[in-house]
Assembly symmetry: C2
Homo-oligomer: 424 residues x 2
Amino acid sequence: MPYIREKFKNVQAEIIAIGDEILVGQTTDTNSTFIASQLSANGVFVKQKRVIADEEDSITDALNGIHPNTKLVFMTGGLGPTKDDITKRTLMKYFGGELIYHPEVYDHIVKLFAAFNRVPNKMNKEQALLPSSCTPLNNDWGTAPGMRFQKGDTYYFSIPGVPYEAEGVVEHEIIPWINENLQNGTVVHHTLLTQGVPESELAEQLADWENALPLKLKLAYLPSPGIVKLRLSVYEGDKLEAEKLVKREAKKAINILGNVVFGEGNQKLEEIIGLSLLKEKATVSTAESCTGGLIAHILTGVSGCSAYFNGGVVSYSNASKTELLGVDPLTIEKHGAVSKEVAMQMAAGAKKKFKTEYAVATTGVAGPTGGSLEKPVGMVWIAVASPDGVKAKCFYFGKNRKRNIKKAALTSLDLLRREVQKIK
Amino acid sequence: MPYIREKFKNVQAEIIAIGDEILVGQTTDTNSTFIASQLSANGVFVKQKRVIADEEDSITDALNGIHPNTKLVFMTGGLGPTKDDITKRTLMKYFGGELIYHPEVYDHIVKLFAAFNRVPNKMNKEQALLPSSCTPLNNDWGTAPGMRFQKGDTYYFSIPGVPYEAEGVVEHEIIPWINENLQNGTVVHHTLLTQGVPESELAEQLADWENALPLKLKLAYLPSPGIVKLRLSVYEGDKLEAEKLVKREAKKAINILGNVVFGEGNQKLEEIIGLSLLKEKATVSTAESCTGGLIAHILTGVSGCSAYFNGGVVSYSNASKTELLGVDPLTIEKHGAVSKEVAMQMAAGAKKKFKTEYAVATTGVAGPTGGSLEKPVGMVWIAVASPDGVKAKCFYFGKNRKRNIKKAALTSLDLLRREVQKIK
């Protein structure tokens, strides 16, 4: 379609998330994160996101409020067996047409239910009714099909709100369509992932480099508990040149920061550890007290991890530290459960019990209660056992339980990475 | 302040999240979820949320685009040591004034760094410069203070983007101010939490009740993997009466759905289990294969869980199932690791090893690889051991690894809840 290609240089998109549940703060809108990341990766520029109520006026207002340069509009939510009505009716008023029955959509719903040994009901059957003004989009992952509308030279996509359905429709139905029909602009991102150094210190170390960056290169610091991402972006010019530019500058930043950078792009710490272990043909196990299973959960999020992850123990009680990990009860008595000695024995115990080359252990005060002057809430001992022996280090991760559990788990993984990659 | 009270009947709010990282889909905006839930709980109505780029034009456009009836505007992000500049400069242009140095803010920054054994740098010092048009808001949790501006009879809050800092400022600085200064409207929500029944089936069961609901009562189905929430809302009339109304109708729905409802409001499944175990003075342990530690992680998210959670094993390898949980290797050989027999032996083994009254075990094919015709990806055996014996049940949670791990963990917790609460 050369006509469309011509018209769609530097495509601008907007996202509208429909849902009272998001407005009242009961649900976090993760769909638009996914949509935005997919668009961004495919050279489409996201101008704005909005969250609005699922009611006719709000939907119509939002559609009328789209920026005149926006060529792609993504609406998520407001579909599904119990809330189809408002969204479909409103879209039909806006784009015209009437409801028509799509037997192929209903067939799909019947098959979907059969796989779970269930039968669709009347509400599910009504999901096969779609406005005649739309092109249906396959939703292999749920009962509500997506819809594509057109008004002027702008395309509107209505996507189900359930995250894995939204992801399926965007990835398999919409992104290929965009790449086939539109000529996207230059959007190049390159991200460096760092662990263990606060934002302001990174910025200080990078100050000279940052001041010398070419004007069209944008740098952003994205802090989160335990990890700070550095994102380099170029939004103009030739794509290949832009890619070369960000890569060149990323390399300079890595040279300055050294081992603090644990990865690049969308890599995850647990994936990097997995690849390193596979390369070394080594295995790992965990012994978790304060992190309560989070390290094991993160490691086992990686498909294929059974090749290098043998297992772990969550030893919340002293008895389980002794019974399952072989920690000496006298050590616990003398130094306390939160101590260097216990952390080291836990790591050594897991390594032995699970017959692995590496093991990582945590013991700390997650809080909010149970802290003391000597061992305050947020204090965590982390130990890593490797073929070279056992090392331990003490950290202070602050008073917030959820946050210090997460920071302790990520820091443990980074210490493990450093051991596996033999970084001094 | 009776003047303000008079003017602020039924307060309407909008949220503006500032950040390229959200627009490109690198970060999910969880701050506005927290802000919205706090506002909602305090009778403030959220009209709209927006996400915009951190650049002057976008911020100014968004401020100019605020609905005329909106009285409270929350801006999150765009603050912090490396990105203070644009936001502060733009807000100063919009609200007037000049940058002035706040020694008390700098003192706080110095103390905060001292606690982590660090010294603030030049960038951190600049965070103590604030527009003279704002009232600073304490941020005990980070270096960037919040700011309150006023224009006409609308109040604007600028809040740091780091989630735990944003939460602290909203909870401790802003909400008390709103409750002291504004007369909020009626917003009453009541939520029922259900596990294990799909949205369309719940809706079918509730159809008669739903059709008979009073007009001013709004019902919403909020599905997520494993859990469907039913939210009843009233936005008008007397607050006490509205509360009575939603409670009365919630009770009727519970009578229809029975044990499918595991809790109400903001309760979490793991908290309910914890309370039930405490009441019974009983303890629990876990034996996880495919869920890889997620059940233990969820259980240990609850403060005080060490009173009833002794620990768990993540037994990813067959050897660890045998070695740590006492699963008979012949059983694994005969039935395979993913089987009813192995799940039951895992649960019984954890119960014995950790000396607990209850234990929950999972073994399944998380995928995406490793499935077979007989044991497809997503098939999971869950066993619960209790003082009455061991029960096991087989589930099919679909092909998506992250999703079936989550569903398996939540379903395990619900089966555990049913055992602990002695539900037939």
